[in-house]
């Protein structure tokens, strides 16, 4: 008999043999579950319709100190990705964001760091070999205006920059269903 154990890091889980003691624990936890009701089965995280009021346009500095205006990208779909250097799931997510950027170059990806000093973000980008544009939301104003309460969070804008999809938590951006969901709103044929 085997059972998944709680992962220490996002995206990792392991299967271990269940000892008699662990099996007894399972019995106990099942009994407790009856007390609290059954939780829904875990489903893979995916893009969902954007649930908030339209987020405002923004102008932020990038890591070089240059100003980036979201409106300048109108006509292109945009992924607005909120992250922080301390966020463990964010690190792995950058790899699949880079894959998406290569697979769909017409999609602009803006990674917005939340509330950290530029020098720290620069060091992180270098260490993680991140080539995506990184903007700095030092005072978290954009983060709040975009209803972001969890990192990472990503919002997908269509060509008219209407917020259409979002996901709270990390996502595998190389997954076919993820790419299809973005293609569907950008009218691009896969």
């Amino acid at each position: 008999m085997s059972v998944r154990i709680a992962p220490e890091a996002r995206g990792s889980s392991s299967t271990v043999a269940v000892t008699r003691r662990a099996a007894a624990l399972q019995v106990l936890t099942c009994a407790v579950a009856l007390l609290y009701g059954s939780a829904a089965a875990e489903a893979p995280r995916r893009l969902e319709p954007f649930p908030h009021s339209p987020p405002p346009p923004f102008t932020l500095a990038n890591l070089d100190g240059a100003t980036v205006v979201l409106g300048d990208l109108r006509g292109s779909p945009v992924l607005v990705h909120f992250f922080a250097t301390w966020c463990e799931p964010c690190k792995a997510e950058f790899a699949t964001l880079a894959q998406l950027a290569a697979r769909r170059p017409q999609i602009k990806i803006l990674a917005i760091n939340v509330g950290e000093p530029a020098v720290r973000v620069r060091a992180f980008a270098a260490a993680e070999k991140i080539a995506l544009p990184i903007l700095l939301d030092a005072d978290r104003k954009v983060t709040k205006a975009w209803h972001v309460s969890v990192l990472p969070t990503t919002v997908v804008l269509d060509e008219a920059h209407t917020a259409r999809l979002h996901v709270e938590g990390d996502l595998d951006w190389s997954r076919d269903d993820t790419v299809s969901a973005i293609d569907a709103l950008t009218n691009r044929k896969p």
């Binding site: 709680a6 220490e8 890091a9 579950a33 829904a40 995280r45 000093p117 720290r120 005072d139 938590g169």
Partner: protein, 367 residues
């Protein structure tokens, strides 16, 4: 809500298992902080910032938290080549720090702050409620309100509600949250500094690992979401543990990297109660030989004691969140536990010794 079923069940089961933990008696070293003799320490914090093309500023936290029963600050002095240096007090929580300003110089900007304080162990007998001063309405609001990182709604509230459902008292709620954090979190040695404490992100991602500013912030947020006043206390370990816990003490007089954040919860009849679930997870990870099971005797002792007691081989800086640094062009810092500095290039990374060099030493001295 993304809290996983297995995570939730693990916490639920812990409430039952906690009552079957092995007794601490018989351990090779008894972990028993008890209010006794006061100890006096001297702390020296030295910053050296490379010459900059423009003005430089620094903010050095002081051990200024004051509680007559267990922590008495005894003042700070400093020597510096700064053009201006002043003691400042943050308005909302009363955190104190030295603010320094340098004009453009060719020499490094240097400051050495010397602080003294007295402290003694804390232990609350949770079996004997007494008469304690009630929190004022303002204090109750301050310590139950959300901050930008310690949110109290959404997933934090739903998680807290499940943890405390059916609890018989505030003490029961406080203990259930403690056991839940101990059971469900992990200390992550790769987390930079002490972590940041974005508890909604932790719960949503299911990534419940981090260090003290993550794990104890989770405790504080879950408690506040249950309506219980709670607060982080940001500080620094200054001496070895006299109870033999290598993981719970400073290894030498150099304590530059010994920052540690603890938590308190206010309970009627007991006052501010010290807790430290993050240190239980530190014992699990680091106490030799390392990676101990929760059933290990040393872990069990720490788990039992750290709900209600602290060994005071540690100093308390403050309980402040979102501290605006006077004169800074940057945003507030999440908490003021590390020295901070800015040059014309912007805020330096307090966690990176290559950009902000500082050394902190601590030693016990005669009162």
């Amino acid at each position: 809500m993304h809290l996983t079923r297995r995570t939730w069940l693990k916490g639920s089961a812990s409430a039952a298992l906690a009552t079957t933990l092995p007794a601490a008696a018989g351990a090779s070293t008894t972990f028993a902080p008890t209010p006794g003799a006061w100890r006096t320490f001297q702390l020296v914090t030295r910053l050296e910032i490379a010459p900059s093309a423009g003005a430089t500023q620094a903010w050095v936290p002081l051990p200024s938290f004051s509680e007559p029963d267990w922590f008495k600050p005894a003042g700070s002095t400093w020597t510096t080549n700064a053009n201006a240096a002043a003691l400042r007090k943050e308005a909302k929580y009363g955190a104190e720090f030295v603010h320094l300003e340098w004009a453009k110089t060719d020499a490094p900007a240097v400051v050495e702050v010397t602080s003294r304080f007295a402290t003694r162990d804390r232990a609350i007998d949770l079996g004997k409620p007494g008469t304690v001063a009630p929190l004022s309405q303002a204090e109750r609001k301050l310590y139950t309100d959300a901050t930008s990182l310690i949110v109290t709604d959404g997933i934090v509230k739903t998680t807290s509600d499940k943890i405390v459902a059916g609890a018989s008292s505030d003490l029961d709620k406080a203990r259930r949250i403690y056991e839940w954090v101990v059971e469900n979190t992990f200390r992550n040695p790769k987390t930079r500094g002490c972590g940041i404490g974005d508890i909604a992100s932790m719960l949503t991602s299911g990534n419940l690992n981090g260090k003290c500013a993550d794990l104890n912030a989770l405790y504080v947020g879950l408690a506040r979401a249950a309506g219980l006043p709670a607060r982080d206390v940001y500080g620094l370990r200054v001496a070895p543990s006299k109870f033999g816990y290598k993981s719970l003490g400073a290894g030498s007089e150099v304590v530059t990297k010994a920052q540690h954040c603890r938590a308190e919860i206010y309970l009627d009849g007991f006052g501010w109660v010290p807790v430290d679930p993050a240190d239980v997870r530190k014992v699990v990870l680091e106490e030799p030989p390392g990676n101990l099971p929760l059933t290990d005797e040393k872990v069990a002792q720490a788990r039992k004691v750290l709900f209600g007691a602290w060994e005071m081989n540690w100093l308390a800086y403050n309980v402040a969140h979102e501290v605006a640094l006077p004169g800074s062009k940057g945003p507030p810092v999440e908490f003021l536990m590390y020295p901070q500095a800015e040059t014309v290039a912007g805020r330096l990374d307090c966690l990176d010794p290559d950009t902000l060099t500082y050394k902190i030493t601590a030693k016990e001295v005669a009162a």
